[in-house]
Symmetry: C2
């Protein structure tokens, strides 16, 4: 079947599987759980605030009535009701709705997990693909040979890189409570419970809801990189480490179903990386020591997790049949410990090996493994206590410690082969196989730490050297001079770095980092990523720094092209590097480039950014092919929609065909971690999606888009970019409008993420980071940066009579449709009525009045032309998004009151800043809530009334944020 | 209702609850699972030995046919079939049946757990009592006031002491596999599984069965005391530590159901002790260092388990509302760490406290607790590595380490009170309450180690001192001189122990032990038990040794009276001690005595022993009451039936009324550990039984038996004792008969338990330890030591026309009926046909021929008169034992082939020992099994044929042993 055959409804590749029943099933289940959690929360709330609870009921009923009738009369009643609240009531009410939203998300996640389990139990035709399904599809639809699938899987690796998320709104301890609630709900639905146990379950839910309610949901201090790293590691302990081998088993089953052997032991379907503690881009708290701590922390976890598995194996492998060489090894182990017999006293906890008998060869060998793992942990603890110790050498120096997994793997392999050759295949392929696969994937490092730094830091560091050596100022040299200089140094033998170089703290930090990396075990390190890299010299500069600081082997250097200009220039930079024989030999056929979204959305609008990235990937892949280099693209993906957050597999399949060849790396950010790996089920689901998506993209890529589509897309990108900038940059009213209609100025108050917020400014947009920019527009439910400019682009094409073509592109071009499905989702979350409410209440400057309406007409036009192109009568009308639509409907009555409360907080706070003095605003019967008093005791100097308003504001921001994120 | 009203059928106190349906339900379930495991095993067996598998099927079918028809023709066919096996086939067949028996026991345990769960789900009227039930019974049947029950529970403590079991036949790794099989079976029956998961479950069972099958079930080397201790600790990690608080919650529920408040925090329903590593009676491997290691090991586990709980609490207690003093404490913690800021580098893993903010007071306080627990573990590790460090001082010396639980409890209490007073009662009473209760019960020691040593060792130690000091030889002094000497030393100030005393290794070990105990934290030590203690001086000798070696505070000294003579003399010894003002003040109102069964069964027969113990308990309690001392009786209970192993609560309720006053200590031996605490369910069941049994025995003791019953019992004890000795001691044919009909001589070959076996002898019975003596008779299914002499006792009473009285005693005297229920069970397990088979094949001496028949008639007479007294038409005919009867029936076809095989092994081995040379016996086509060869490689010098026969013998012994033990 060629790609061109039109089929009636629904996208390519999605089989007709989403039966309308499956959707109704999910909707019914979601509603059921949503009611349960709401009732539980309300009865907890009622327990502590009986009077207020009734008001919350009525507010909720009014919010529901409004969300359904959308009549102004219902809206006024809701508004009146909320205005009637006293200040400390509004704190509690906003906190209540924020909690209700978090709980609602828990139901969404729990439903997803339930649907997964149901799908795995096969009760529902599942919406997305599973590997089992897609293997069969690949065979009998695409007519591929099962052997090809098998060999493709053997060479396939998906890299998942965990990064801390700057806007992780809900605190870890709250996230944990929601996780517990999810567990309890799954137990509630999936196991046979007596009514006693059912009540114990409902009781468990209740006390977690209560715990969540009584916890201060505002994060009072900033997490350190080590905190972030530790939080990331919990997912390995809880789901990933034990989940991976089970997942690989299912792959074996799927392969067996198409008559193929199981995955070989050296297949590595997944590799795991992390940025926490390695990403120092704009984060001064990440010092060389931080990196060292994080590396050691991860290795300690790896050794601990592995020791647990080895101990289990020691109980299981109690057989006496073994191959001669395993017996020989068992004897060595015994002899070695017998020989150490005479100084028995000192080293205590290994002595029980002495009396294990030789006819348990596996246990002997494994107990030695356990002893060496214990020793490895001792060495690491020692390194932790003495910051000056070189970790790599310390591990190297101790013969009893494991330097890396090679020896360990060999020993386990010997056990495996021994069991198989003595007829215990069944036992070999049970738990031992799982451990072998864990060691293969997680080694003794657990996850590899990427290092990320801004290119300009290296420029300054090298500049400090050249000026000190009197070679001139590296900073003023142009690209050629830099390349010539760098290449000489790289090919030459003379050391460049003088031992007594005077350094500024920044330069010291840069050089200190490289020196530290040279002391760390290199299997714990991933790639060195240069953010904001513009030219080829940025790459060579890092290679040189590694050489000068004695890093062997060197980390591969991954340039991150972030701005539109850099993206357009990326190809030449890479061509220049590949053309250079030294560099070409240096990378020996492997190059990785990172392409990022985040900032690019800010200055060119979404369409231009998406298209820019699309082309960059193609050109980078072409350049690589020219030089016969295997190019791996590293996608930094955003959490919230703002930053192009399509569901994982759609994101993979919407890449340019042929740019994914069995390997891909993607980032998994903060909250996405909890969603994608918080549950065993969702971990399976995530791994399942990536595996099948990458497999498909590798073996059965979609056709190349025809020239005409690309041309249209290019024109649209340019038009939207101009239209976007016309508003954001050239229109002088925009900046003021932006600062008055959104809480962007008040944003600084939420300390989110370990990165320090930039000082607030009335300056231009440029100084704003991407996150607050997107976040601010999300709060007012306008999402302007996402759709601005798209309307003009579409209309210019439609006016050129290309509607047919656009519709064709939407139907048959995965990239185009994913982009517009995302857009549709954003429109579904936007609410112009809320925007108008914000404008009416907050935009006071007379010059800005018409501006809001201009933007709103743009909004509606864009929506209309988008729907025309998609041939949807209204938003989210296709069956594949029916479930999503219901999710949004269920959230709407929770979000609406928060928006209304936020507006009145902003009005009050700005009145205060405008000099209105506080006491006039304080209502007569105001008494500060005990919470406000509790917070004041920490020396906060604000008037408690103001502190209360600020807390309410922060709470509404969190609530709205979690009301608009999309789960699963 | 007074005790005297005759009711138609069934015993006192057992309500009519065991409905015949419940029994049928259990029988149906048991059969179902038994079939499942047998089929699984047979298909595993078939996989490795296809031909032999068919023979096993036929052997099993023939064994079944015989067990049901009991016809000789079926027996011959079975025998012929087994004789037709080649030597290495018979190894495999016996191994197969041994495995089938172990698997069968797994089904019995799993059924018990299922019945428990079902009972808790309330689906079956449960046979035994649960606390919930018995509280209600106590209220509305016995008419007790709920307040009295509440206060009784608050003062009640049941001490459970784990001891290694000398005959633990199945190896730990096999026990683990059976545990896994049990888990899988419970999952199979209790959760909603898809057919995939169902198959995964059956698959899990299969691979465990396979693993068990491929493991050499003969234990090749002796476990060390540290091994035994570590195995004991696994039950705390797996079920006890987490199970106890859940159990206490159910007690709270039960109390709530009778309108009483929950248990107060200081209630201590259970205390846990251990002997592994402390019991040096006849075990030279238990050295002072061993004791030290075990104590440290237990404390490390306690700290580890507690750290896990504290970390969970750190996530849960993220509230900001707290009482002022908790906030103050949180600030201290913060200030303290801030102050330590300047030497930040060295101590790494506590630094994240620095940035935890003050509005999470609970987390701050708890993180400090975690830090101190970590420090405690460091100190303990340090002690492990330097054997010379004084553990108690090391813990004392470090202010950051916890010496014991007092400080820890105070901190947790502060959190508890703070949560309650700030309105978070629901949260206070969830996980925090559990942790408080864990600390209360397990402290930082987890379980207290008892020390046990033989009295004669102290006599020699003191003798070494007195002779060295020229005071004469302590050994030759009579009791007065010893008492006078000991009391002078105890009341005097002069040191007795000279620093340069020349010591034999034994004396050095004794004194070394006391010195070591003085260096250990005393909350890790329980009581000092003197085995084989005869006189009061034995007790004072230990008190003096403690004083001389500087033990403060001293351990309470618990005399163990083991022989009949000592039991009869126990009262005077205690009276002498209580009458002594120094000792009376020393014990300040608390005295514990241990009364043991084991050896007493050997020289007086069961009845005499049971009665002796009954009277001793009364007299010890009376003596204590005279002096106003609270007497706690410590019961050493046996594992297998041989040693009086009644189900726990019947054992409690059959004690003399009034001897249990809220406190009791009992031992839990090896295999009983796995049964009673292997599963969460059975752990609940065990704790439930003990709690309700002790509560009843305390609040509603049964009436005292009338004088006439006691007189009859005393006469029977004397008659049975004489009849017993008439056979065992005076009949010269007995010893030879014993050595030829039982495998007692071959027993030495199984190395079971860490205690070295005595050298084998043809000497008298006296040199034989109790365990082999019982074990040997169990193998031939005769259990002679249990019933010998009972027949004569009963008949002498019946002839005296006291049948009515005996029947009345059986019906209305708990002690009498439990003794005879036990006896009935033993008869149900005995099989005279098997005895005859052993006699025909092994008793060759002509002089012994009639002897066997004499004993068999005694056997049948005893059985008949026992049944007449019990008014049972045949064995196990009452409904309360119907389930048990079915268990025995299901086991019978597995045990029969093992007996037949054992006989032919013994015949062959004895022929070899009688000089017949091996080659004549080796069948023509004999080739050694690979297992035999594998074992030979360990330098065993035997002819492989003989080695094979011995292994078969050992396997049959294990199989028969596990076929006759009673589970749950």
């Amino acid at each position: 079947m060629s790609l061109m055959s039109p089929s009636p409804s629904g996208a390519m590749g999605q089989n007709l599987g989403i039966s309308s029943y499956a959707i109704e099933v999910n909707q019914a289940l979601l509603k059921e759980d949503d009611d349960l959690l709401r009732q539980t929360f309300l009865s907890v709330f009622r327990q502590h605030h009986p009077q207020l609870a009734n008001k919350v009921d009525v507010i909720f009923a009014l919010a529901q009535a409004w969300c359904m009738s959308e009549s102004d009369s219902d809206f006024e009643m809701l508004e009146k009701r909320l205005d009637a609240l006293t200040p400390d009531e509004s704190i509690l009410v906003s906190s209540a709705f924020s909690q209700l939203l978090n709980l609602h998300n828990v139901t969404e996640e729990s439903i997803t997990a339930r649907v997964e389990k149901a799908a795995r139990l096969g009760e529902v035709e599942q919406a997305t693909r599973s590997t089992n399904k897609s293997l069969q599809r690949l065979v009998n639809v695409k007519g591929l040979k099962p052997e090809d699938i098998h060999s493709a899987l053997c060479k396939q690796t998906v890299g998942l890189v965990f990064t801390a998320h700057p806007t992780q709104a809900t605190r870890q301890s709250l996230l944990k409570k929601y996780g517990e609630i999810r567990h309890a709900m799954d137990r509630l639905h999936n196991t046979r419970l007596s009514n006693y146990e059912r009540l114990e379950c409902l009781d468990e839910i209740r006390s977690q809801v209560q715990g969540a309610w009584r916890t201060d949901e505002i994060r009072r201090r900033k997490p350190s990189p080590q905190d972030e790293s530790r939080e990331g590691l919990t997912y390995f302990h809880e789901t990933i480490y034990s989940g991976l081998p089970v997942f690989l088993r299912r792959i074996d089953t799927a392969l067996k179903n198409i008559g193929q052997p199981m995955l070989p032991l050296n297949a590595k379907l997944f590799s795991f990386g992390a940025w926490m503690g390695g990403d120092r881009d704009g984060n001064p708290f990440v010092t060389p020591d931080t990196t060292r701590d994080v590396v050691i922390g991860a290795r300690l976890s790896a050794a601990t997790l592995l020791t647990e598995q080895v101990e289990k194996l020691m109980y299981e492998l109690s057989m006496w049949r073994a191959t001669p060489e395993l017996k020989a090894r068992a004897q060595q182990v015994q002899a070695r410990h017998a020989a150490e017999g005479e100084f028995l006293e000192t080293k205590k906890n290994t002595y029980d090996v002495v009396f294990m008998s030789i006819n348990e060869p596996y246990r002997l060998v494994l107990s030695d493994v356990r002893a060496r793992l214990q020793r490895t942990k001792d060495v690491l603890h020692h390194c932790l206590e003495h910051a000056s110790v070189n970790v790599a050498e310390a591990l190297e120096a101790d013969p009893e410690a494991y330097r890396d997994e090679t020896e360990l793997l060999a020993t386990l392999h010997m056990c495996y082969d021994s069991l198989i050759s003595s007829g215990d295949i069944h036992i070999a392929n049970s738990h031992l196989l799982d451990v072998l696969r864990q060691v293969r994937t997680f080694g003794l490092y657990l996850c590899k730490l990427d290092i990320r730094q801004e290119s300009v830091k290296h420029t300054e560091a090298i500049d400090a050297i050249t000026s000190y050596l009197g070679l001139g100022s590296y900073k003023e040299w142009n690209e050629e001079q830099r390349m010539e200089f760098l290449l000489n140094e790289l090919t030459g033998k003379r050391p460049l770095l003088p031992p007594d170089l005077p350094m500024t703290p920044e330069v010291a930090d840069v050089i200190g980092t490289f020196r530290m990396l040279a002391q760390l075990p290199n299997d714990s390190l991933g790639a060195y990523i240069i953010s904001m890299s513009h030219t080829a010299s940025d790459v060579l500069a890092v290679v040189l720094m590694q050489k000068e600081c004695g890093m062997t082997p060197m980390l591969q250097v991954v340039p991150l092209f972030e701005t539109l200009d850099d993206l357009n220039y990326a190809e030449t930079a890479m061509r220049q590097l590949f053309a250079n024989p030294w560099y070409f030999a240096h990378i020996n056929g492997q190059q990785e480039c990172m392409i990022g979204y985040s900032d690019s959305g800010k200055d060119a609008g979404r369409l231009a950014a998406a298209w820019g990235l699309y082309e960059v990937q193609e050109r980078l892949t072409q350049v690589a092919d020219e030089f016969g280099v295997h190019m791996t693209l590293f996608h930094g993906r955003g959490g919230t929609v703002g930053r192009g957050g399509a569901p994982a597999h759609l994101a993979v399949l919407s890449q340019p065909p042929g740019t994914i060849r069995g390997t891909i790396r993607v980032t998994v950010q903060g909250e996405v971690m909890e969603q994608q790996f918080g549950e065993q089920e969702s971990a399976f689901h995530t791994m399942d999606l990536y595996t099948s998506a990458v497999l498909e993209a590798t073996l059965a890529p979609t056709e190349q888009p025809p020239k005409e589509w690309r041309q249209t897309m290019a024109d649209m990108a340019r038009t939207s970019c101009d239209a976007y900038r016309a508003v954001v940059r050239e229109d002088s009213r925009f900046v003021n409008f932006f600062h008055s209609i959104t809480p962007v100025n008040e944003l600084g108050r939420m300390n989110i993420g370990s990165r320090p917020a930039k000082r607030r400014s009335h300056g231009s947009i440029d100084t704003l980071r991407a996150i607050p920019w997107i976040f601010a527009w999300t709060q007012v439910r306008f999402h302007l940066p996402v759709w601005l400019g798209v309307g003009e682009a579409l209309n210019s094409m439609i006016d050129a009579g290309k509607l047919e073509l656009l519709q064709d592109m939407f139907t048959n071009w995965m990239f185009f449709r994913v982009t517009f499905d995302m857009l549709e989702m954003v429109f579904a979350k936007a609410d112009p009525r809320v925007v108008k409410m914000y404008e009416k209440a907050l935009v006071v400057e007379p010059g800005l009045h018409g501006f809001g309406d201009e933007l709103l007409t743009k909004f509606h036009d864009t929506e209309q032309s988008m729907l025309t192109v998609m041939k949807h009568s209204r938003l989210l009308s296709s069956s594949s998004t029916a479930f999503l639509q219901q999710k949004l409907q269920l959230r709407a009555p929770y979000v609406a009151p928060l928006n209304i409360l936020q507006v009145s907080c902003l009005k009050t706070l700005r009145a205060i800043e405008a000099g209105k003095n506080v006491d006039e605003l304080v209502p007569a019967d105001y008494k500060p809530s005990e919470k406000a008093l509790a917070l004041m005791s920490r020396g906060a100097s604000k008037h408690p009334f103001v502190a209360g308003i600020e807390d309410t504001l922060i709470i509404t921001m969190k609530g709205i944020a979690s009301g608009l994120k999309n789960t699963g």
